[in-house]
Homo-oligomer: 271 residues x 2
């Protein structure tokens, strides 16, 4: 029977829904877990947000996001992000590592490793696991130079698995002909720190950020991914995270209802 | 000294320039080679186009493009494309293999292999080499399910190298962390059938097709690619192929002049 047991509603799917209403809406819908974003959490107030979520009986599957190591203040900013994740009780801080930022590609990738070296002790002390998210290669220049699950695993392998893992997002990895063996490898090495789903539709919009779709509306065989990460040993939350400009114009409760329906029909295989 | 010896002007860079004027313009500018596209060639008349190019003293580096094995008439259409390449004296037919076309991704990829099996004997008989072009993963759903140079090489390896090679286009492969070893591997196996250059700029436009840039205007280290394919043993034409909606609004001779300037400054390393 399909259930919401592993479902987590990522806040970015209802980008304009105020945090308090989102928390109440999730609790009312029987959703037990949310993925939160730093900006709305800080807008609401970190301590207040943590209390609100806790009081509603929700857990926080991840905090999105640290990374962007191209920014001038990346070190302080990522230390703050780690502390915020700890305050929220989020076990995982998702890292979108940033694009070129004026560096040559090899140098930008090397800088990511340097940044991780610097951050891992702080994260370990805070009890937060860093999760490197490989980004679709179309974001290589401007959002994330870690373009494949293989590259993310290579980065993570330099640290204990409890400190650094990877996030597998169907939208970013679905084109990769090696993805199935990489998921198995990631699971065997205990590196799957998170699993997010969104579907791929074309044509892509200008800027290619806000054209993702709810599961089932596009081309990705999402149940196969759910089965693969589960078979690889990942039994944690399944976040639906959909950046979609049209979806964002709708009322939060409607988005949540459609997201739950999509999850039950197109994310969890027959259990 | 930098020269135009290896330069080939791909017709798509000046998409609205009539074939006859393009041929005359290239000859007048000292360009010895052009990459042609099927539609404008057929518009001009195949035999007339072949004669026009030959009479101008130009060689045809490649014909773009066959592939799109998702189309109902893919077999007949690709046989015609092979014959057209032979008529034009193009040694290479570039294959953009097509997207999902309603198939699951694995099935779409398997279908590409089946299509190649069917076409190779015809191509061999015509003396035309098929060149599989890996497409940037952002085109996986709708233009090409062969998303990496590794996958293209795996496909090509099933045939003699004189029959099937790969096209390396900087725009499609630049994000790949394995690209340098793959280029070396492709050269060692005598699989580099073509080398095309365009640069990557953001933001990507809607549809992500017409936002490529002339070499030097974007993020790709193009001279490094030229050196890599040359070091791998490829000494053939270097096609500049840039799909850019703004560029296309300009007069053909201006586009050619800027393309030549970009080539000399940002494609060929110091020789």
């Amino acid at each position: 029977m399909r259930s919401l047991a592993r479902f987590s509603f990522n806040q970015a799917t209802a980008n304009n829904w105020a945090l308090a209403e989102l928390v109440d809406g999730c609790a009312a819908a029987g959703v037990g877990s949310v993925g939160l974003w730093r900006a709305p959490v800080l807008d609401h107030g970190l301590a207040r947000a943590a209390k609100r979520v806790r009081d509603a009986g929700l857990s926080v599957s991840s905090l999105c996001r640290g990374g962007f190591f191209t920014a001038a203040d990346w070190l302080d900013d990522n230390r703050r992000a780690i502390d915020e994740a700890a305050t929220l009780g989020a076990p995982v801080l998702v890292l979108v590592v940033g694009g070129l930022g004026g560096r040559a590609l090899d140098d930008a990738r090397a800088h990511v490793a340097t940044a991780l070296d610097t951050l891992v002790p702080h994260a370990r002390a805070a009890g937060v696991r860093l999760a490197v998210e490989p980004m679709h290669p179309m974001y290589c220049a401007d959002r994330g130079v870690v373009s494949t699950l293989a590259a993310a695993l290579d980065l993570a392998a330099r640290y204990p698995s409890r400190d650094v893992g990877v996030v597998i997002d169907t939208y970013h990895v679905w084109w990769d002909e090696k993805v199935w063996s990489l998921i198995a490898e990631a699971g065997a090495a205990d590196r799957i720190a998170g699993y997010q789903v969104a579907d791929w539709v074309t044509p892509l919009p200008e800027g290619v950020l806000l054209g993702r779709a709810l599961p089932g509306a596009g081309h990705i065989e999402i149940p196969r991914y759910t089965q693969a990460v589960t078979a690889a040993g990942y039994t944690g939350p399944i976040e639906v995270e959909v950046f979609n400009a049209d979806l964002w114009t709708r009322p939060g409760p409607d988005i949540l209802a459609d997201t739950i329906a999509a999850y039950l029909s197109h994310v969890v295989p027959n259990e």
